[in-house]
Structure formats: C-alpha cells, structure tokens
C-alpha cells in the first residue's frame, strides 16, 4: 500500500511538498502510482500526536467510552498513539486485562493503544500488581492514576520494582488527607460554599516523590501538574539532578478556577483548575521546559455522571479533540512557544518518556502522521465529537489547528479533506 500526501508543509514550515508512505512506514519519494493520494492544501504535516495519559473506560465503563469510540476521538484530534490509564473495571492490574485491551485495540481501534498497568492490585495502594507479567503483555508504564499512591513505603517499592522492568512510574500527586473537596481551595471555593482541594495536597506528594526519586536515584514522572509551587518544586529538583519528568493538560494553561462559578461541572476535575497565577505558571513551566509534555487526561463521562450536583459530579473532561488546537491557539499563536516545541511536547517527548519509539518523521519510521490546518479558525462544537461523551468546557470556543488527516501505521484513521 502506497500513500502520497500532496501539498503538505512538513513540520508546519517551508513550501508545500509531497510526503510518502509505503507499507506502513514513512518512505522515500517514489515515482510509481500510489494507491491513495491526499491533497492537504498546505496543511502542516506533523509526527502523529502521542497522548501519554488518557482514560478509554474499556473494559467496564463502555457507556462513557470504549476503545473504538475513544481511539476514533483520538484520531480526530490528530493522535496516533494513546496510553490508557488502568482505572477500568476490572482494573488493568494483570496481564489478561492488558492483553484484552491490546487485542481489541489492534482489531478495531483507530490509534495505537499502549496500556498503562496499575501499580498496585486493584488500585488500592497496598500490594504491588504483577508489573513484570503486565510488561510482558505490553504495558508501557505503571500508575494508580485517579488515585495517588498514598503510602510513601508503597511508592518506594513501586519505583524500585518497576525499575527492574524499565517501566516509568506515573504518580497522581494528591495527599488524600488534605484533598477531599470539589474544587481548588481559595476565595472562590469559599464563596461557593464548596469544600476545597488545596495546592498543598498536590505539592506535599510531589515533594515526597521527588525525595524518594533522589534517595533511590530512580526516575519518577509527576502526572498533570497544576500549580505554581508544584512546578517550582520540579524546576528545582531538575536543577538538582533528580530524574523527574512531568506533564500538564490543556485545561491547566487555558482555564482557571473561575470556570467553576455557576457550578459548571465541566470545570470540575482533579487536580482542580487553580488560580490565574497558577495558570500563568503552567505556561511558564511549558515555555522553559520544566514541564516536559502535554497530555489530555481525556476523561469521558456520561451526562448522568456530570449533570448533577457539583460535589457529586465526576471529575474530568474529554480532551483528545481539542488538545492540539488549544496548544496551538493558546501557546503557539500567542508566541509562548514555537510549533516545533509544541510538537515535541505532544509527540517526541511522550514517546521518549514511555520508550514508544515513535514521534518522528524519519524515513523508515512507522507512518504515524497527522495534518493540521493552522490558518483557518473554526468554532468547536461538542456535538461534532467522536467521543461517546460530551463533557467539555470548550463548546463554542474559536480555535486554530483543526485536524484534517490522521494516518496511523499507514492506515487512514481520520480524514476531512474536501
């Protein structure tokens, strides 16, 4: 199978040229007749986006999302690879669930799916999960995401044991004794009469994990950092030589806690949206590289789980179909970073942290690419989403960077060229 993509601006710069794919790999230009020709009319052709942190809800919560709808949504957002968190039902804490996820995604998925295994059995934070057997089955990292690894002794064990299998440990940092509220603690939560989740709860655990990583001289990856002090802790730790990487999500650089006013449950997530100064610190952390990557934390929820009383509503928002546009609109068009840096944050670096061997346009690499129209603004419509869920705060936003074409391993997974 040969694909020729015409009029593509490779990496978003230069004059439009042609791009070639043969048998699932990026190829040198060929002169023979291609099976498929796409004309992307000057769209930017980028390495396929890689999401290191999402929830596909499959198995167990297919009424919110499943592997098929989730990966279609990912493909529509320009993602070619997604790493799904283990808080499914049953929990992805053993090789058979890992194999099930991989089998379904290979047979019917629209993106490469890389499962993340639970760090502890049942996400209970007590006993190690079968990390080695899950690695054999295909996990790329371990995490109890959604829940923190509450005990320091357990976190130490997870880091030590995972290192034996060269698996990164991704921790959702939140001290549960400090964090049982519904939104960021501060004047807005007080004004709304909602219990608060202090930044302190996130930062105490970030500090703990940095200290464990330093003590053991092992790597750690901090999930979805959301606040100024947390970012500063990581910045200082990197300067001290601690092997730490971290991520943030578009909502932490686009929104702040004021989105919760009016009790909008599409602004409810964990970590919660923080103050404006935190949002600005996230942007600075991305700009100076303290924050390595941008992930979606795609968290689909059914309307029944969201359209209820604020404190009872589920945490999280969908993210695949807006992530690149938000990054491009709020970081690149504003001049905070260039397109190359955004692509690194959303492709090459996630691949590097999770050792996926992707995120490149080199000849011979797997043909994971996506094309984006960077020039034409569009109005994001939540009802246009491929996801089963509609929990997004961005309905009606004017954005740039609409995905026009996604090819994963040489297979077209999304296309909207006219």
């Amino acid at each position: 199978m040969k694909i020729q993509i015409k009029n593509a601006r490779i990496m978003g710069c230069g004059e439009p040229s042609d791009f070639f794919i043969e048998d699932g790999l990026i190829s040198k230009p060929f002169t023979s007749k291609p099976d498929i020709i796409y004309d992307v009319s000057g769209a930017a052709l980028l390495p396929g986006l890689i999401d290191a942190h999402c929830h596909l809800r499959d198995p167990g919560f297919e009424y919110k999302e499943d592997i098929i709808s989730g990966t279609r949504s990912a493909a529509k957002g320009g993602f070619t690879s997604v790493c799904c968190m283990p808080n499914t039902n049953p929990v992805c804490d053993n090789a058979s669930v890992v194999s099930g996820i991989l089998a379904k995604s290979k047979a019917r998925g629209y993106a490469n799916v890389f499962p993340i295994g639970a760090a502890s059995k049942g996400l209970k934070g007590e006993e190690l999960a079968e990390i080695g057997l899950m690695k054999e089955a295909g996990i790329v990292a371990v995490s109890d995401d959604g829940k923190p690894i509450a005990l320091a002794s357990q976190m130490r064990k997870v880091m030590e044991y995972s290192h034996d299998f060269n698996l990164p440990v991704l921790n959702h940092c939140e001290d549960p004794s400090l964090g049982d509220g519904a939104m960021n603690e501060g004047e807005i939560s007080t004004q709304m009469g909602l219990g608060g989740i202090p930044t302190l709860s996130e930062n105490i655990m970030i500090s703990r994990d940095l200290l464990i990583a330093e003590y053991l001289n092992l790597p750690v990856h901090i999930c979805h950092v959301s606040n100024k002090v947390g970012i500063q802790l990581i910045r200082e730790a990197k300067a001290r030589g601690i092997k730490v990487t971290t991520e943030t999500c578009p909502h932490y650089f686009v929104l702040n806690e004021t989105s919760c006013l009016g009790f909008d449950t599409n602004a409810k997530m964990n970590p919660p949206l923080r103050k404006e100064e935190d949002r600005l610190a996230v942007i600075e952390g991305l700009r100076d590289g303290t924050i390595d990557i941008i992930v979606t934390d795609h968290a689909p929820h059914h309307v029944d789980d969201k359209n209820i009383e604020f404190s009872l509503a589920a945490n999280g928002i969908v993210g695949f179909e807006t992530a690149f546009s938000l990054g491009y609109t709020y970081l690149v068009r504003t001049g905070i970073m260039d397109l190359d840096q955004l692509i690194r944050c959303m492709s090459a670096l996630p691949s590097k942290i999770l050792s996926l061997g992707r995120g490149t346009l080199k000849i011979g690499a797997p043909a994971d690419i996506s094309c984006f129209d960077l020039e034409t603004p569009y109005t994001f419509d939540k009802n246009s989403m491929m996801s089963k869920s509609r929990n997004t705060p961005y309905d009606g936003y004017t954005l740039y960077g609409k995905c026009k074409l996604t090819i994963t391993g040489g297979k077209t997974t999304y296309e909207e060229l006219c």
Binding site: D180, E185, G186, E187, I188, S189, T190, Q191, M192, G193, L194, G195, G196, P198, G262, F263, N307, I308, E309, F310, S311, L312
Partner: protein
C-alpha cells in the same frame, strides 16, 4: 421595582436595590402578620412546594405559613418518604414537581449549588432555603430585616458573626448581604473553621472574639454544626464553649444597645450562653417572626415577577 431573576438563589445574585425592596416589602407583610386577620390574596390560585433534603423546623414552617397566609396551595415533600429514597435524581424530582403546575419550588439541599443546578430546567421559581455551605438567602434577609427594624438602617452598623464560619451558609449570605448594604461585618471562630479567602467577601476576619465583638451593634452566634463535622475541627465541646462561646462578659464588650442574633437551632452553652440567649438584648425570637414576614415578601415579589412574564 421587581426582581431581575425568576429565582432567588442567593444574595450574591441580588443587587442592593433588590435587597432593599424585599426588606421594604417585608415591613408591609409584618403588619399583615400582626393583624387579627392573617390573610392576603397575593398568592391566590398559585402553588408553592417546599422540597427539603435536610432537616428544618423554622425555615420550612415559616415558608409554609407564609405561603398559606397569602392564600396559595402549598405542600411539603421531604427526602425521606419521597421517591428520593428510591434513588430518583434531584433533577427528575424537581422536574416532576415543576410539571404539576408549581409556581414556586422552595428547596433545601445538602449540596452547594443544587438550586442553581435545577433552576434553569424549571418553569417554577426556585427559592434557595439553604444549599450546603453556600447560601441561605432568606435567613440573611430576615437577619438584615431584624437589624434594620431595630436600628432604622444597616449602613455603618458593626456586626460580629461568631462560630463555625466554615460550614455556615448563614454566615456567607449575611457577609454578602450586610456588606452590600454598607454594614461592617467581622467574622470570628476557631482558625480551623475560617475558610480560606473569606475576607475577600467584603468582611473582616477578627483575630479574637473580643476584637470581633468590641463596639459591635449586633452579635450573631452560629450553631456548631455537629452533623457536618466530618473531621474534628476543635477538641471538645467544653473547650469550644470556654474559648469561643458568646458569654455575658463577651457581650458586654459590644455597644450598650447591641442586639444578639442566632439563626437557630441553638446549642445552649456551646456557641451562646443561655443567659445571652434569654437576655433583653436577644432578638432571637423576634427573628423567627420576621422570618415569616420576609418570606412572605420574597414570595410576593417573585409572584409579581412571574405575573409580568
């Protein structure tokens, strides 16, 4: 003037003019209440439903009596004994009530924002009778009415609100309402019960009970909400009573003609000593009567707003 919104969700949502208009209307309603024939026809042919997910004596009864004195059909539903116990969602319950040609739905709920959540879905006017830790607007309105009745104005009054501020929707609504009308609000309680950033709501956080009460025109005690104490925020009732209670000695720091308020129900000897409760300065019983008048005023104004539509 009429109310801007079809609902009364909180004092955050009301302007100073709207609050003044409600207080002014309540004066008329109080005259009705104190007359021999407590009957008006303002709500004739209308229906008022109270839906209470939490316990209540005075709020619920005063709303019910207010609506009956004004001639409406009224009924009560509580969470226990309704389909809520069968797992019916808040939205379905509210819509069901709405579809019975209900004009006003008065709701108390344990979750902050619950009335804000249902209001846009209903044709009925929603009145917040207390939502979680957020607001209790009619309580604050009756407190403000009581103070205005006593002092003739609210502007320039110093009001001390003492106790469990963290869990208190009464404190929040009063802080918002009183400061909108120019009163100076001082809050005091154990630091574990002072929510972060409350000083940004137009009030001051005092550093001692004496500082809060000194020179005050009004001292409001708040109930220690024992049922909301998920974790212990103070060591014992005895210790709370010793350091945080409004005693006659503390009250003597206030102005000579200062008044004592309490939203009730009161834990005697905990947040307020019985001597203070029963003192001539106490308007706690007067508050209850004013509660009916203020709620009549609220229902009256909502009905005018509805009739305009």
């Amino acid at each position: 003037m009429t109310l801007i919104s079809k609902d009364l969700l909180g004092l955050k949502e009301l302007s100073a003019e709207e609050i003044n208009e409600i207080l002014h209307t309540a004066e008329m309603m109080k005259l009705v209440l104190s007359s021999g024939n407590k009957k008006t026809s303002h709500l004739q042919g209308k229906s008022v439903i109270t839906l209470f997910y939490e316990n209540s004596t005075r709020t619920r009864l005063s709303f019910e009596l207010a609506s009956k004195y004004m001639g409406s059909a009224s009924a009560n539903i509580s969470a226990s004994g309704s389909s809520v116990n069968k797992g019916e969602s808040l939205l379905d319950t509210a819509r069901t009530i709405d579809m019975m040609a209900t004009d006003v739905l008065i709701m108390r709920h344990s979750q902050s924002g619950a009335p804000h959540f249902i209001a846009p879905y209903l044709k009925a006017s929603v009145v917040n009778a207390g939502d979680g830790m957020n607001e209790h607007p009619t309580q604050a309105l009756l407190d403000m009415y009581t103070l205005k009745e006593k002092f003739g104005k609210l502007e320039g009054l110093k009001v001390a609100i003492c106790g469990d501020i963290y869990h208190s929707r009464v404190a929040r609504s009063n802080a918002i309402g009183l400061s909108k009308l120019g009163a100076e609000v001082f809050l005091y309680g154990p630091s574990t019960m002072i929510p972060m950033g409350i000083d940004k709501m137009g009030c001051k956080v005092a550093s001692s009970l004496a500082e809060a009460v000194e020179g005050a025109d009004a001292v409001m005690g708040l109930r220690v909400q024992l049922e909301r104490q998920k974790k212990s925020l103070f060591p014992s009732i005895a210790e709370y009573a010793k350091f945080y209670s409004i005693s006659p000695e503390i009250l003597s720091l206030a102005k000579k003609d200062a008044v004592v308020l309490h939203p009730g129900p009161c834990n005697h000897g905990v947040e307020l000593s019985t001597m203070v409760y029963d003192s001539p300065q106490s308007l706690i019983n007067e508050q209850v009567t004013n509660g009916v008048a203020v709620r009549m005023a609220v229902l009256y104004m909502l009905m005018i707003r509805r009739n305009l539509q």
